[in-house]
């Protein structure tokens, strides 16, 4: 018997009587002002927010808030005025010198500030992690309340890689002192388009 067979046989023999799954449709959170909740949460965990009317406003805010002498890459064709459009065929390592990556998110979650991304909006899996600073465009109408709503929204999407990103990378491993910028981006900025 192979390892696999032995493990499965022992598990089958040792597992207890079947118990049912609980009903998790009971978990609902109602938000009075879901956009404000999202903003408060995201700022609370160290992110930066701009509420804008349209993507044109983003074009103005980028040079005001980031160092445009360094490499800025985007997945959004509308932003090629302020950033380099990413190449789908580039090697992931080639993004190591990206100062700022600007992408959009499918939706975001009010209870924890996280955005949901899959490969089509990331461009490359590595892009939202390897950049020094991350900017994400989110539509106000796409904000959902909880993770339960999030997974309902994700549904049966068969992505190759999907990710929640909830703020700038951080660590408190050294004497519990919170440091922003561990291995992922040092800052994260979200532009909410109303």
């Amino acid at each position: 018997m192979s390892g696999r067979e032995k493990i499965l046989a022992t598990v089958l023999h040792n597992q207890p009587q079947l118990t049912p799954l609980p009903d998790i449709s009971i978990f609902k959170v109602h938000n009075q002002d879901i956009v404000q909740k999202y903003i408060d949460t995201f700022i609370g965990i160290g992110g930066k927010i701009f509420s804008v009317e349209s993507i044109d406003a983003v074009k103005i805010l980028i040079p005001e808030n980031f160092d445009i002498t360094k490499r800025i890459v985007t997945t959004l064709p509308e932003l090629t005025d302020v950033a380099e459009l990413y190449s789908p065929t580039a090697d992931p390592h080639s993004f190591q010198d990206v100062e700022l990556a600007i992408i959009n998110a499918h939706f975001s979650v009010a209870e924890n500030g996280a955005v949901w991304l899959t490969e089509p909006v990331m461009g490359h899996r590595i892009l939202p992690y390897i950049c020094q600073h991350l900017a994400v465009i989110v539509s106000a109408t796409s904000i959902v309340s909880t993770m339960h709503d999030a997974y309902a929204r994700i549904g049966e999407d068969e992505y190759g890689f999907g990710a929640f990103i909830g703020g700038p990378s951080k660590t408190a491993d050294i004497e519990q002192a919170l440091v922003m910028g561990a291995h992922g981006p040092i800052t994260m900025t979200v532009f909410i388009i109303k």
Partner: protein, 457 residues
């Protein structure tokens, strides 16, 4: 091979009272952060109950879920391996790397691989492994195991970390500012991520329904390693399954809140298919889990989602330190998992507890940790692994309580000694006297008082 018991190691740790107070304070502060956010989360107790019920269902149907998971992983293009024990797991990792002539690997947090001593195994075979999680990296530099499953170097002062970085990373001597130290590690490890062809991660949750697995970090190190690698390996304990994708909603709401008081870890990455030109492997590891599944009193410990909440609240952990547990998984959960792995080596761990039950109170999946600690004690004594001191103590107690006559006489002698010959008990030989004063002797026993007063109204 461990020679010292928890009590001895904790005593060592306690010699530095200032450090103990600081360690205690740090962990209690994290417990308080957990409380704050739990109180702000609607239906918190219902969430715990649901998580517990989901995990019970998983354990009761694990065989079929494992088959479903394997099938879906394969459909997604992920190669599946099965390892009965640590040795097999390590061999599998080695063979994957050898096949591609890879001699350097970057690793993100995996307590399972720590349990398997993977790093040492690979190093002996000429493969260099770097732990990329900052806390684990620090511990690796110091050649010490992690003391906490979520906060690996919570026991270290920033000056000590500064010393390590000065020696190994060339930072300025005396530098202890956490931000500057973190930046130094960021720079060094970035180069590691960019040059390693292989990355290994742990698995927080495997979803049977879809054949994907989730890795949660705050640092982004798992992603930095994975998305730049040619070969990505995930090591997963067989108990880490959940049935359906929607159940992630429950667990991701509970995990970080229970661990550090955050609403979610910064990164919750869902790996489902390899990138073009990339190979993905997942190793399903048993290493004692299927046996634990068969232990009726202890199987619920397999529900654990490794949040570390029990460690943050445990008074013994806070004041004794994680390294006193001489086991990969430390704290209360470690104490109920370890005896199944090696009862002789870890017989002392279930006794390293006051049975206060605080751990069970905070556990997001409602494991009855304190009850299992008690049950393990009974098992350990039954199988003859209790320490001689304890066995003798219980035997004397047994004899004292065995007859009213013996009890009365022993009581009389005890009260006499306490009153007139205190030095007999106030010394090093009496274990009760360590850190405690002996009680004042009452004038008379209850029996004596009752005999005098029973006819008074």
């Amino acid at each position: 091979m461990n020679t010292k018991e928890h009590a001895t190691l904790a005593e060592d740790f306690n010699k530095d009272e200032e450090r103990v107070n600081w360690h205690d304070g740090s962990l209690w502060w994290i417990r308080q952060k957990r409380d704050k956010i739990a109180n702000q989360t609607p239906q918190w107790e219902e969430l715990r109950e649901a998580a517990s019920a989901i995990k019970s269902n998983v354990l009761s149907n694990l065989h079929d879920y494992l088959l479903q998971f394997e099938s879906n992983l394969q459909k997604n293009g992920i190669k599946v391996h099965w390892a009965e024990d640590a040795a097999e797991h390590n061999e599998i990792v080695y063979s994957i790397l050898k096949e591609k002539n890879i001699t350097q690997m970057v690793k993100s947090k995996s307590m399972l691989t720590e349990q398997c001593h993977l790093n040492e195994y690979l190093e002996e075979r000429g493969i260099d492994v770097i732990n990329s999680d900052l806390g684990e990296y620090i511990q690796q530099l110091d050649k010490e195991p992690p003391s906490h499953i979520v906060l690996p170097c919570i026991h270290k002062r920033k000056e000590e970390i500064g010393e390590l970085f000065h020696e190994y990373l060339g930072t300025e001597k005396g530098l202890s500012d956490p931000t500057l130290l973190t930046r130094a590690a960021r720079k060094h490890l970035r180069n590691v991520f960019l040059t390693r062809r292989a990355a290994l991660t742990g698995v927080n949750f495997g979803v049977a329904e879809t054949g994907e697995y989730i890795v949660c970090t705050n640092e982004g190190n798992a992603d930095m390693g994975a998305h730049l690698s040619e070969v990505q390996i995930a090591s997963m304990g067989i108990e880490k399954l959940i049935p359906q994708k929607k159940h992630l909603g429950v667990f991701l709401r509970l995990l970080a809140r229970s661990a550090t008081g955050q609403p979610i870890t910064i990164y919750s990455s869902h790996f489902r298919k390899p990138r073009p030109k990339q190979e993905m492997h997942l190793i399903l590891v048993d290493a004692g889990r299927s046996r634990q599944l068969g232990l009726v009193d202890f199987r619920d410990s397999l529900k654990c989602i490794k949040c570390g909440g029990c460690m943050n609240t445990c008074p013994v952990y806070r004041k004794g330190g994680g390294l006193s547990y001489h086991n990969t998984i430390t704290g209360p959960i470690g104490a109920i998992l370890a005896p199944n792995l090696d009862m002789k080596e870890h017989a002392d761990l279930p006794f390293a507890s006051t049975l206060c039950g605080s751990c069970s109170n905070v556990c997001p999946v409602k494991i009855n940790i304190h009850e299992q600690l008690y049950k393990w004690r009974q098992e350990i004594v039954k199988q003859g692994y209790a320490t001689n001191k304890k066995s003798l103590g219980i035997k004397i107690m047994s004899w004292t309580l065995s007859s009213p006559g013996t009890y009365k006489t022993t009581g009389k002698v005890g009260r006499f000694v306490l009153k007139h010959l205190p030095f007999v008990l106030n010394n090093k030989i009496n274990p009760w006297y360590k850190q405690r004063d002996m009680p004042q002797a009452p004038k008379e026993s209850f029996d004596e008082w009752y005999a005098k007063n029973k006819d008074k109204s």
